[in-house]
């Protein structure tokens, strides 16, 4: 199948979402998808999604992009993840339809 792309997944505290999105926008990537109200567990303990503020919640961001952009993107995201915690994972995928 032609049209290979990369699929980048970022999970971090919901509270840093707006900062992260700003960084993403600055890299010039054409699109991303955001899943809010995500719970989980990691090195920084459990995020059960409960509580008032977004203190115990994650955000999950999904980005499809060309291979060339991956480095630029992960370089932008790295300081946030390293300061605030979370994960960034990449895998392979293919465009089928992209309008």
């Amino acid at each position: 199948m032609q049209n290979n792309i990369k699929r980048i997944e970022i999970i971090t505290d919901a509270i840093y979402q707006s900062r992260l999105i700003k960084l993403l926008d600055d890299t010039g990537i054409p699109g991303y998808t955001i899943f809010k109200d995500v719970a989980g567990k990691g090195l920084k303990g459990e995020k059960d999604g409960h509580g008032l503020g977004s203190g115990f919640k994650n955000v999950y961001i999904l980005i499809y992009c060309e291979l060339e952009l991956v480095k630029k993107l992960t370089d932008a995201v790295r300081p946030v993840i390293e300061t605030f915690g979370g994960v960034c994972v990449v895998s392979d995928a293919h465009w089928i339809i992209h309008n």
Partner: protein, 324 residues
């Protein structure tokens, strides 16, 4: 009003719902208040209390006493974190000590509202200024917390750092403060008529909404209780000792300032309670290496229930004694 009367007030509608929620969780019930409903009711409570405070401030006018209370509360919101930090450093590292100290400088809105509810039940008035004071206590404690952290933290900084403008915005413009101050201003601008048309919303259903919210608080506190096992005795002791210490300071100051019993009681509650929503949210961003699994449960699962069960009746009793 004697002790049985006081106790009775605590078993009147709003408060017991907190324990129903907490006990349900400890018994592993699946009781859960939906997330967005929690936020809605918490905004509702802030809007209602802010509006009422504004209307009362409108009636009383802004006099010397009002100004004095506002200044002292702002100052104390900055001073409390400093001595809390010193105490906490015995056992905690810099980031966690700073973040937890900041929480104690600020206020728990629900504790405050529950206290107001008790006064209402007893027919004792308190001034709208106390509500304005609550709104003012958040920013200083956040700012002092961050200053302590930045001053004493030796670890190399990562690339990510809030500048002062961002910090200020985080400290002064979070949603809760906006709703509280906003509706306070609307109340201030309203006349009798405005008050009357809002009453069924801000007054009528208030106790019921507060009951619902306390049920939720019980559930959340119950879920956070587990985190205290790892926190250990030092933090549990801290979460009980500091409210008592701050209450004593507050009652002394209130006496010195000649506050009315109602104001003195609310003043004490401002000092003795700790924030587990707004300040932790700011700390999350400003002190990222502090562990929210520490600072949230201390304020939420120790200090909050302690104040509700033991603190409020005790402070009330002490204030009454002094004014008798």
């Amino acid at each position: 009003m004697d002790l049985t009367q006081i106790l009775h007030n605590f078993f009147a509608p709003p408060v017991p719902f907190f324990f129903i929620g907490m006990i349900a969780i400890l018994l592993k019930s699946d009781l859960e208040i939906p997330d967005q409903i929690s936020k809605f009711i918490s905004m509702y409570l802030l809007m209602a209390i802010g509006f009422k405070g504004g209307v009362e401030l409108h009636a009383s006018g802004i006099n010397r006493e009002v100004a004095l209370i506002l200044i002292i509360c702002s100052l104390m919101a900055g001073i409390i974190p400093i001595y809390c930090y010193r105490i906490l450093r015995f056992k905690l590292d810099v980031p966690n000590a700073a973040a937890l100290a900041a929480a104690f400088g600020s206020v728990s809105a629900v504790t405050f509202i529950t206290a107001g509810n008790i006064l209402d039940g007893a027919g004792i008035p308190y001034g709208g200024v106390m509500i304005a004071a609550m709104a003012l206590m958040e920013s200083p404690s956040i700012i002092i917390g961050v200053i302590l952290y930045r001053k004493y933290n030796k670890k190399a900084d990562h690339g990510f750092h809030l500048n002062f403008t961002e910090l200020l915005r985080e400290a002064c413009l979070n949603g809760s403060i906006v709703v509280l101050l906003g509706s306070l201003m609307v109340g201030l601008a309203s006349n009798e008529h405005g008050m009357k048309i809002m009453e069924p919303f801000t007054g009528g259903i208030f106790k019921g909404m507060l009951s619902f919210f306390l049920l939720d608080m019980g559930v959340i506190a119950g879920k956070r209780l587990g985190a205290l096992k790892s926190a250990g005795w030092f933090l549990i002791g801290f979460g009980i000792f500091i409210p008592l210490l701050n209450a004593v300071i507050a009652i002394g100051l209130a006496y010195f300032l000649g506050l009315s019993p109602g104001n003195a009681f609310m003043f004490t509650v401002l000092f003795a309670s700790a924030s587990y929503v707004a300040v932790p949210a700011a700390m999350r961003v400003a002190i990222p290496d502090a562990n929210p699994g520490i600072y949230v449960p201390v304020a939420l699962a120790i200090t909050f229930p302690f104040n509700i069960v033991v603190g409020l009746p005790l402070y009330y009793y002490l204030v009454q004694c002094i004014h008798a």
